[in-house]
Symmetry: C2
Subunit: 396 residues, 2 copies
């Protein structure tokens, strides 16, 4: 890109069931926290991006970036407000478009945000809305839903690579343990593998505790040109790469359902642009919407060999003190998963790791990856962030 | 912006009631036409933006940019596919984000597209979905809908400036006459002012023929770095400015409801960036979702003095041979208004004017403006396009 970009402020609401708060309230809280963190006033903002999957179905409201800009007091100014959507990768897109906006020279101080208010619908209606991330005509009309599609991927992975039910459970155990130190997480309780395996099947082999929950929440970050970053903070977080790739919307159109090609393609480009290898990554926030999705992610991001993702988690290599710590925040499973907010929340948590401020902190984290997926993988966004002064950066 | 951008290919479907075609089919037709026009193969595409307002409500499908990339054969490649939304300004956003993507240096050949499939719902459900562009909590729960909100603006404009019912009708007469030469238009019949005034009230003073119709359709354009444009076409169309601004989502939160502040702010910046004045504009495609919206647009874009917009149209100053020809395509009223497609369709038609290929052609058109509004004006996008060799450009 023609101009380097940095993150200079981050903020989020707690994720959970916010019966008492509206969509617009959630954004304002996260946005104000990000502005305060960056020491930026509202009238310094040049543009706003809002990731949101489905406010049309959840709260019958479209035009939501203009709505949140309005309630944040930005709408009477010139500020362009742009909603982006790619199912639950919407937050990842919002961050990426904010970076491109600054890189293009069009804007200097940009808010990337994500927000979703899911709990106004009942669970059957929520499942129906979520199915809008899959191919309605070819998958959903035939009886599929997102959990069922991931269950097929899990079955294929177990069949081909010997991945076990216990390995799926260990993703939950790790992520809940990590979230015990995250005050913004929806669940801060530890769970055992036995408990996970006692919960009802949602779609065999996936059980209730293999699935991220329905959540309300918002997250926001402030991005500026890298050359200006130190005017805002002593601890800028540099965007080394932000890459997005696509795959077929329908799972049955893929050559191989034990990999997300979109993740692999986005990661390959991101590593190349950032000039890092998977082994250089100190910490990763990955898209564990279902437990099997984390196993696919650690493989497709290159942390483990293909087929070895289950063992990678089970053997502690993804633990906070492991080879490549994955989801020290608690991930989507324990943080909660307000669809459009998640991709931005991952950047918030990655930035905290690089600043040394995380609840479950990875020691000497200098290079972070965030990984956000839409639906069953038709969209993936992979970002590489760094503090530009750590051990990995120096060695390159 | 750090890198200039040009449009090198355009395409669209006819707009209308396409009972026989799906959302994805519509995009593929428009996309292929744009690729053919640019002489570009699918594997040369670096990124795709898709403007769409409400596929979630119209066809229960989100994640629609990935869907159309998939059906266009782009998804198995690395191509990022990004949906953007700001109600019926979604197409304008898609174009602007495509321009920023190229300007940033991240991409070289980008598709900007818009698509909407509205006719799968009945008219009451369509009105309900459209109301998602307004403030659901404060306007729609109270009984408002988009037509009623524009009717209030019309009433206020009539009261303050003496705008007449006949002047509203003359917008329709002009736009239908212009569309008689547009093979892609939903309506190609002429109408009289008397006929307009015999149609039933939708929301007084606005009648059925003051309103753009519900439509299915898609449009697409190809953008590249300006320095590469002549590799693709002998008639590049240069993007002199693309600006977007916001206003309050709720009409009652505005100081003045006889102006769209978002349009005025976006236009001011666009003229400044492009280094043109409203008098330099040879042709404009503006957002006449309702007749009153065209009257507000010609004022807020600076073609007429505030309050003089009705007379500007009635006196023929907006005619194809007038002072500033407005909507020679037929506008939203006669072309049809497939929400997310419109902002891109406007660029298609403006490009044809600058290339001298339009049905109702403005003589020697060298500087064009397109103007796309979301809902009642919380979002506006204003683009300035030019051929960089016409009389206006030479005089600057």
């Amino acid at each position: 890109m023609l101009r380097d970009v940095a993150v200079v402020g981050v903020g989020q609401t707690s994720f959970g069931e916010h019966w008492e708060r509206s969509f617009r309230d959630l954004f304002v809280t996260a946005g104000v926290r990000a502005l305060e963190d960056a020491g930026v006033a509202g009238d310094e903002i040049d543009a706003l991006y809002g990731g949101n999957m489905s406010a049309g179905q959840f709260i019958q409201q479209e035009h939501v970036a203009a709505l949140i800009a309005d309630y944040a007091g930005l709408a009477t100014e010139r500020v362009p407000a742009t909603r982006v959507e790619a199912a639950d990768a919407s937050g990842g897109l919002a961050f990426r478009q904010a970076v491109l906006d600054v890189a293009s020279g069009a804007s200097d101080v940009v808010v990337a945000s994500g927000v979703e208010k899911m709990t106004d619908l009942g669970s059957a209606e929520t499942t129906e809305a979520l199915a809008g991330s899959a191919d309605r005509e070819w998958e959903v009309f035939g009886g599929g839903n997102v959990a069922a599609l991931y269950a097929m991927m899990a079955r294929a992975h177990m069949d081909r690579y010997g991945t076990t039910r216990r390995q799926l459970s260990e993703v939950v155990v790790k992520n809940h343990e990590n979230a015990t130190n995250n005050k913004y997480a929806q669940y801060t309780n530890e769970v055992s593998a036995e408990l996970v395996e006692s919960t009802p099947f949602v779609s065999e082999p996936l059980r209730a505790f293999d699935c991220s929950p329905a959540s309300d929440g918002a997250a926001a970050v402030i991005v500026v040109p890298a050359e200006d970053a130190e005017d805002y903070t002593d601890e800028p977080v540099y965007v080394e790469a932000t890459e997005q790739a696509s795959g077929s919307l329908a799972v049955h159109d893929r050559d191989d359902i034990t990999t997300l090609g979109s993740t692999a393609r986005a990661a390959e480009r991101a590593y190349e642009t950032a000039n890092v290898s998977p082994g250089d990554v100190d910490v990763a926030e990955v898209h564990d919407s279902y437990t099997v999705a984390e196993i696919l992610a650690v493989e497709d991001l290159g942390f483990a060999e293909k087929g070895d993702g289950g063992a990678f988690v089970e053997d502690g290599r993804a633990a906070v003190d492991g080879e490549t710590p994955v989801n020290p925040s608690g991930g989507l499973k324990a943080c909660g998963h307000p669809l459009g907010a998640t991709g931005v929340r991952q950047v918030v948590d990655a930035a905290k790791q690089l600043r040394g401020e995380a609840g479950t902190q990875v020691e000497d984290a200098s290079v972070a990856v965030t990984h956000n997926v839409g639906g069953t993988g038709a969209t993936a966004v992979v970002n590489v962030l760094s503090d530009r002064n750590g051990r990995n950066r120096r060695s390159r």
